[in-house]
Amino acid sequence: MKHKAPILFLLLFCAILSACQSLDQTDSEQINPDSQKTYIENKGSDTLVNLALAWAEEYQQLNPVVQISVTGGGSGTGFTSLINGTITIANASRQIKPEEIDAARENGFEPIEFIVANDAIAVIVNPENPIENLSLEQVSKIYKGEIKNWQEVGGEDRPIVKLSRETNSGTHVYFLETVIRLGSKDDNSIFSADTLLLPSSEGIIAEVRDNPNAIGYDGLGYVTPDVKTIALSQEAHSNYIIPSAETVLSGEYPISRHLYMYTRGEPKGAELAYLEWILSSDAQEITAYLGFVPVIRE
C-alpha cells in the first residue's frame, strides 16, 4: 500500500507532460500551416500516365505543399476508382460512359471533364517490314482477321500478328470504334479472336520491335524510334499522313483523340489549382516534349 502514492504521482506527472506536448503541437501547426501537405490521388489511363507523372513532378517542385501520386491501370480502372472514391482525379483516354456517369451519381457526385492533351494513335510495325502506308480500311480488315498475310497489303509473305492493349484500355475502345468499325455506330465487328491482348504499352512496343510479323497500335507519346510508324489515310489511295503534332492539330491525321482528366464534382482548392496549371502554357510545353499534342486554350 505504501508504494501506491509515488506511482500515482508519477502517472499524474506523465499525464501533465503529455498534455503540454500535445498543446505545443497544435500551436506549432497554427503558426506554420505550410507543414500540412495536400494530397492529390491521380489514377487511370496508361496512355496518360507518363505525362501525368511529368506534370506531377514539375508541379510538386513549384508547390512543395502538394503531393500528387500518379498510377496507371487503364481508363476503366481510373473511372472505377473515381466512382469508389479512392482517388480524386481520374485520367482517361476516352470519354466517360453513360453507365459510369450513372454509377457516379449513385455515389453522390457529378464527374466533371477536362481535356488536358491530345494524342494521335500511331499504327506501328517492325522496321524490317517494308510497308510504309496503309488505309484505315486495310488496318480495319487486318484487325478483323480478313487480311491475314502482309502480302495482301503489298508486303512480304509473312503472317500478320495483331497486337492490342487489353479491353480495359481506353486506347483499345477508341481503336475499336474509330478504326475497326471505321466510326460507324451500326457496325458490330470486333477484334478477331487471335488478336494478342498485351497488358501494357511497353509490351506492345517490345513485341513490335522484336517481331517482323507484328502490327500494333499505341499512343504517339509511347512510340520509340526503334519501331516504324505507318502513314495512314482515311480513304484508300488518298494522302498518307504520318502522325505528328502538326498533322494532328491540322486535323489531317485520321486517328487522334482528346485525353481527359475527371474530377469528383467541380474541383476546389488544390485540385482546381492543379488542373488550371495543367492547362497553362508551361505545363503544355511538357506535353509537347513527351510527344503528345498540346491543347491550345482559347
Partner: protein, 294 residues
C-alpha cells in the same frame, strides 16, 4: 483437467478449425458473387466461342481451353525433369552433391513468377519465335515452359521426400540378390513411392493451373479455342490471366464482374478436384509391401 491446459487445447482447436472456416467463407463469397452469372447469362452464351466482355460476349470455353492447354503442356515438360531430378537427388547423387542440389532446387522455388515472366518476354519468347519459326513467340508453349520451371521445384521436393520414405532395407535386399541400380530404381523404389510421386504431380498441376503473372506476360492472352495441335504453339488466354487483367476495370455488380467470380468458382473446382484426387490416391487401402511405405 487444469484450467491452463483447457485454454491451450481450445486455442489449438480454434486455430485448427480456422482454416476450414476461411475456406468456407471464401467459398460462400465466391458463390455469392459468381452465382448471379447463371441468371444474367444463358448457358448458350456461356458456352459460346468468343470472349469479348466489353461487347457482352461471355463465352468461357476459350478461357477453360486456354488454361487446360497451358497446364497440360507444362506438366508434359515438368514431369520428366521433376521426377528425374528427384531420382537423381534421392538415389544417385553422392552425399556432397545432394547437399548442394537440394537447396538449389528450393532457391528455384523462391524466384518470383513475375521475374520469370520478364525473362520469358525478353529471352524465351524471341527464341521460340526464331527457333520454331512461329508467327509470334507469345504462345501457350512459352507459358508452359515457364510454368514447368515454376512447378518443377514443388514436384522435386515432394517426390524426393516420397523416395526418401522408401525403407533402406528394400534397396539392400535388392542389391543382395544382384539387382543393378537402374533395376532398383525402376522396379523397387519408384513403385513403392508411387503414391507420394502422384501427390507431387497433382500439386505441380495445381501450381500450374493457379499461376497468373508469368502466364499473363508470355501467352499473348488471345482468347482462342482449342483447334488441334496448332493450339499449343498459338497464343491462348488462361482463366487466371483473364481475372487478373479484367478485375480492375469492372464496375462492381455488373454481369462482367459476376462472370469473373464465376470463372473463379470454376478454378476453385478444378483445384478441389486435383486435391481430392491426390488425397484419395494417398489414403486408398494399401496392399502388401506398400503398407510399410508412406
Amino acid at each position: 483437467m487444469r484450467k491452463s491446459e483447457k485454454l491451450i487445447t481450445n486455442t489449438i482447436r480454434i486455430a485448427g478449425s480456422s482454416s476450414i472456416l476461411f475456406l468456407l467463407l471464401i467459398f460462400v463469397f465466391l458463390l455469392k458473387e459468381g452465382f448471379p452469372t447463371l441468371q444474367e447469362i444463358s448457358f448458350v452464351e456461356l458456352l459460346s466461342r468468343r470472349w469479348y466482355p466489353i461487347e457482352g460476349l461471355f463465352g468461357i470455353l476459350p478461357l477453360i481451353s486456354g488454361s487446360l492447354i497451358v497446364t497440360i503442356s507444362s506438366m508434359i515438360i515438368a514431369l520428366p525433369f521433376g521426377i528425374g531430378t528427384a531420382i537423381y537427388i534421392g538415389e544417385i547423387a553422392p552425399q556432397g552433391l545432394k547437399e548442394i542440389f537440394k537447396p538449389l532446387v528450393e532457391v528455384l522455388a523462391g524466384i518470383p513468377s513475375v521475374v520469370l515472366g520478364f525473362i520469358g518476354i525478353l529471352v524465351l519468347s524471341p527464341m521460340m519465335r526464331t527457333g520454331l519459326n512461329l508467327p509470334t513467340g507469345l504462345t501457350a508453349l512459352t507459358g508452359a515452359i515457364l510454368l514447368a520451371l515454376i512447378s518443377i521445384p514443388t514436384i522435386v521436393s515432394i517426390a524426393e521426400d516420397a523416395l526418401y520414405a522408401v525403407p533402406k532395407s528394400y534397396r539392400e535386399a535388392a542389391y543382395a540378390v544382384g539387382a543393378t541400380q537402374w533395376q532398383i530404381i525402376w522396379h523397387i523404389v519408384l513403385p513403392a513411392a508411387r503414391v507420394g510421386i502422384l501427390n507431387a504431380v497433382m500439386l505441380g498441376v495445381g501450381r500450374s493451373l493457379g499461376e497468373t503473372m508469368a502466364v499473363m506476360m508470355v501467352t499473348g492472352n488471345a482468347p482462342t479455342l482449342f483447334s488441334g495441335l496448332d493450339s499449343f504453339i498459338s497464343p491462348v488466354r488462361t482463366m487466371t490471366a483473364t481475372i487478373a487483367s479484367e478485375m480492375g476495370e469492372v464496375a462492381s455488380g455488373s454481369a462482367h464482374y459476376h462472370i469473373l467470380f464465376f470463372i473463379g468458382i470454376i478454378l476453385f473446382f478444378f483445384s478441389l478436384l486435383i486435391n481430392v484426387t491426390s488425397s484419395s490416391l494417398s489414403t486408398r487401402p494399401k496392399r502388401g509391401k506398400d503398407q510399410v511405405v508412406s
